[in-house]
């Protein structure tokens, strides 16, 4: 293996830039956050003149009764409920598609992933249109069908409604993770147990379950972590329902209704969150290491034995249809309809209701074109930065013998444990304190988005592990320097993995809502934030039109790249 001291100057410089970039993008905002929690008074920036060291925020955190009476219970119920529901749904769908003879598995596979691809506010608004207590489509239909009076029967603005929506939104993620686990299970392991004389039940208990367990527990931990980080639905659906979870509370401290932003309180509130996130991440890494050690013990090239569904085929199809209807088809339909016909039910609408006015207004809005440009600019630029960084970190972690590489590995994974709202806050505090004119521009969004290099680092690492080390050594033995080897051999070989990472990060960038909201200025507005603003200001048709446009823009990109994307995201 190459040692650092054997690399030439150019190689060292490039790698150093990568390491510095990684630290700058993640560790610096985090350090700022940590310091801000101990600097006061609250309405001053941590290093503004007049600020001093203090424990007042920490003390206030423990003294605030809201934390114990409202935020902790709400957060706990929200997370537990969402994880339970999303896990049940995700496992069911993954099992049906990976281990049974369900018809149309390829198509279902793509359909289930759809909610993962659009910004969550798009879904949130659609679900409000569908399940709003007064005029939600589903409520109108149910009331007409069962001759009910008054509001409801479904009310999205409750804890139950919030959990249902969040679970629908998180299910594709669970589905991807568990699908990989189920697919990695070599049926020969179970067959060997049967051939040893074990009954099917004994086989399940003593082989199937223990082998699958780490691969199921690891996603469970990750989904718990990611649910606790959710901000979009708690803001858009939870706030009207008076549900107060951690992530929203941090945002509230920055944007209180009647006073100045309380930076110190927001930072202090973030700390337990970050600590919890790191603990869950460490647990996740242990579990995933165990799951991977299991996976490497089984050979490749086996055929998955599929269970014949028989009479259960119909219920299985109903479940899938129901999920896709609630999570993708109906939201898309209600948004498109509302953008064209306003807020009337399809059956009661007339041709006179049809109008392109919402689109006309939108296209006349300068903020729309600015938001469109910003959305793509920020998503592409941050995806590029993160892909390059991920590749450099992936090389260092998998190929070099630098002692730092384990620390780098942890730093890159860290981004998973940092909620977007906290990442946004850290970046905000840093650049508010650093007068280089970045705050309020598109550049700050690019910087803030780019903290998420865990995925690309993992993809790049997996890619490097698949490239035989001798392919790299053969280049060096041919007289090529490190950079030439990188450019002529490694990058071309890694291109599929790098492209997959880029597309993934691009989608994450287009979906992003929390960071641009926290760092919002009129100049750096992005489409997801504009969507929320339109919706907040009581323009359902205009917001529906914008949501439809976002869906129309994102879907083709995703379908073009689906093959590589899906395959790669499963490798991870």
């Amino acid at each position: 293996m190459p040692r650092v001291d054997n690399l030439d100057v150019a190689a060292k410089a490039v790698l150093a830039v990568g390491v510095a970039g990684a630290i700058y993008l993640i560790a610096v905002p985090l350090a700022m956050l940590l310091l801000a929690a101990f600097r006061g008074p609250a309405d001053l920036l941590p290093f503004e003149p007049g600020a001093r060291w203090t424990f007042e925020h920490i003390r206030a955190l423990f003294a605030d009764p809201i934390i114990v009476t409202r935020i902790l219970p709400d957060t706990f119920v929200f997370v537990a409920g969402t994880v339970a529901l999303a896990f049940a749904l995700g496992f069911g769908l993954a099992w049906l598609i990976e281990r049974t003879d369900l018809p149309g598995r390829e198509v279902w596979f793509s359909l289930v992933l759809l909610p993962l691809l659009v910004p969550t506010p798009v879904l949130a608004i659609a679900w409000i249109f569908l399940m709003g207590p007064n005029a939600g489509w589903l409520n109108l239909v149910l009331r007409a069908a069962f001759d009910l009076q008054g509001e409801g029967p479904i009310n999205v603005f409750t804890m139950g409604g919030l959990i249902l929506c969040q679970a629908l939104a998180s299910t594709p993620f669970v589905f991807l993770l568990l699908g990989a686990t189920l697919r990695a299970m070599d049926p020969a392991l179970e067959e060997a147990s049967g051939a040893s004389g074990a009954s099917p039940w004994t086989t399940f208990r003593r082989v199937t379950l223990p082998v699958l367990l780490p691969g199921v527990l690891a996603p469970l931990v990750l989904v718990t972590l990611i649910t606790a980080e959710q901000f979009e639905l708690p803001l858009i659906i939870g706030l009207p329902a008076k549900i107060n979870v951690f992530s929203y509370r941090i945002y509230f401290e920055l944007n209180p209704l009647s006073s100045l932003p309380n930076y110190g309180a927001a930072a202090a509130l973030s700390l337990p969150f970050v600590v919890l996130g790191m603990l869950l991440l460490i647990l996740y890494n242990r579990l995933i290491a165990r799951a991977e050690s299991f996976a490497t013990m089984t050979g490749r090239g086996y055929r998955q034995r599929r269970l014949a569904l028989g009479a259960w085929r119909l219920p299985a199809l109903v479940l899938l249809t129901l999920y896709v209807a609630l999570a993708a088809a109906l939201p898309a339909a209600v948004l498109l309809w509302t953008s064209l016909f306003g807020y009337t039910l399809p059956l009661s609408a007339t041709a006179a209701d049809f109008s392109l006015e919402a689109y006309r207004q939108l296209f006349a809005n300068r903020a729309f074109w600015l938001g469109l440009r910003n959305t793509f600019l920020v998503a592409i630029a941050s995806a590029l930065i993160v892909t390059v960084l991920g590749m450099l970190l992936g090389w260092i972690i998998s190929r070099s013998q630098i002692r730092l590489r384990h620390a780098l590995d942890f730093v890159s994974v860290l981004s998973v444990g940092i909620p977007a709202v906290i990442a946004g806050l850290g970046v905000m505090l840093f650049y508010l304190s650093l007068p280089i004119g970045v705050y309020g521009t598109v550049a700050i969004l690019i910087i803030a988005y780019s903290y998420r290099f865990a995925t690309t680092t993992r993809l790049a690492r997996a890619g490097f592990l698949q490239i035989h080390k001798e392919l790299e050594e053969a280049s060096a033995a041919s007289g090529a320097r490190w950079l030439a080897t990188m450019r002529r051999v490694l990058v071309p070989l890694m291109l599929p993995a790098l492209a997959a990472g880029f597309i993934l990060l691009f989608i994450v960038g287009v979906r992003e809502f929390t960071i641009p909201l926290v760092l919002y200025s009129p100049d750096n507005v992005v489409l997801s934030v504009l969507l929320w603003q339109l919706f907040q200001s009581g323009q359902p048709a205009a917001s529906a039109a914008l949501a439809s446009i976002i869906i129309a823009v994102v879907l083709p990109v995703v379908f073009l790249a689906r093959r590589t994307l899906v395959r790669r995201s499963l490798v991870d």
Partner: protein
């Protein structure tokens, strides 16, 4: 051309134990010589090759390629600045480019830049040399094992390095292909007159390809010499066994006369051999007999070094028959005999031993 002096390198195993992969190894390869490092897996031979290439950094010792010290306490020339060509065990043909671009690579990355026409000419010359000129534009993933080996070799020699390194160059091929590629490789190395160092665990490969062979065990060279030297006069039991199927009989030196002849009582006590050795009476010894050096027949030979036995198994191998002969005392001998006039299983036979073709090693 290549001098390796007192080279040492150790690795920490995953369980924390430090393994001395290479433990004070010295050897020299003369210009245009083909030198083999032969040994079982884990003996350190590949580590030596990688240290010579510059892919590993030695802890101790020095390496000189040509007149240039490439590695000692103060100097470590990185791999891309050494005048080497290397054939990897996996061949390491880059799958994203075709045959031509694989072979052209060392010239394309060379500084100062070479003219495109010059690169083209040299690549086509070397492809012709390895018989791959007609496949220059074939994508790398479409190559067979033998073709990959030729491309790897072409790539290793295209920039005319001072030293060619080969890491188990034939182990990735199937048995029939391995024989023909071995002959081709031997011819090619002679033809271009390059200095070559290669590692292998296959004694046939080492003996047939190399001008000199170093046999390695546990990080050290245990014997070095020309192939016939090593085969006929192994330095110890390990070398004798490693270089080919060997029968080992244990015994005790019973007497020694003034002419250096010893009488060895074989284990079991029934048979004796009279051989030439320097061991004193009372020494426990191992007598190594190669199957092809033994004779087998139904009548007792007229000299005294013969052992009676019974054929317990026979394996017809086309050009020869291998017999397994039970000689009593829980030992059996393998004997390689011409295929004509086969003997049957269970037949009583006499095995004749030529005292000049026996190796004897004392046991502590």
């Amino acid at each position: 051309m290549l001098t390796v002096n007192n080279l040492a390198k150790s690795f920490a195993a995953p369980d924390g134990v430090v393994v001395r992969a290479v433990d004070g190894v010295s050897f020299a390869v003369a210009p245009a010589q083909c030198y083999a490092l032969l040994g079982p897996s884990g003996c350190g031979k590949t580590t030596i090759l990688r240290c010579v290439a510059g892919l590993e950094q030695p802890e101790r010792g020095s390496i000189t390629i040509g007149r240039r010290v490439v590695s000692d306490e103060d100097v470590f020339v990185p791999v891309h600045e050494r005048s080497i060509g290397m054939v990897f065990q996996s061949y390491a043909i880059w799958p994203h480019v075709d045959v031509f671009d694989n072979v052209a690579y060392p010239l394309a990355v060379a500084r100062p830049r070479l003219a495109r026409s010059e690169i083209e000419k040299r690549v086509m010359d070397v492809l012709a040399l390895v018989g791959m000129a007609s496949m220059a534009r074939r994508p790398a993933p479409h190559l067979s094992g033998g073709q990959q080996q030729r491309v790897a070799l072409a790539r290793a020699i295209v920039r005319r390095p001072g030293l060619l390194l080969l890491d188990e160059p034939l182990s990735n091929l199937d048995a029939t292909l391995r024989d023909s590629m071995r002959r081709e490789l031997a011819a090619l190395i002679r033809q271009i007159g390059i200095t070559a160092l290669f590692v292998t665990h296959d004694q046939v490969e080492a003996l047939s390809l190399a001008d000199r062979v170093a046999v390695m065990e546990q990080g050290r060279i245990v014997q070095e010499g020309t192939p016939p030297d090593i085969y006929d006069r192994p330095a110890n039991l390990f070398v004798a066994r490693f270089l080919g199927a060997a029968n080992v009989l244990s015994g005790v030196v019973a007497e020694r006369d003034c002419q250096g002849r010893v009488r060895i009582a074989l284990a079991g006590g029934q048979h004796h051999l009279t051989l030439v050795a320097e061991h004193r009476p009372g020494t426990n010894v191992d007598v190594v007999l190669r199957p092809e050096n033994l004779t087998i027949g139904t009548a007792a030979p007229d000299h005294r070094n013969a052992i009676p036995g019974r054929i317990s198994a026979r394996a017809f191998q086309g050009n020869s028959i291998e017999y397994e002969v039970d000689v009593g005392g829980n030992s059996s001998l393998r004997v390689l005999a011409p295929a004509r006039g086969g003997l049957d299983r269970g037949a009583p036979v006499w095995i004749g031993i030529d005292p000049r073709r026996v190796a004897i090693f004392g046991r502590p």
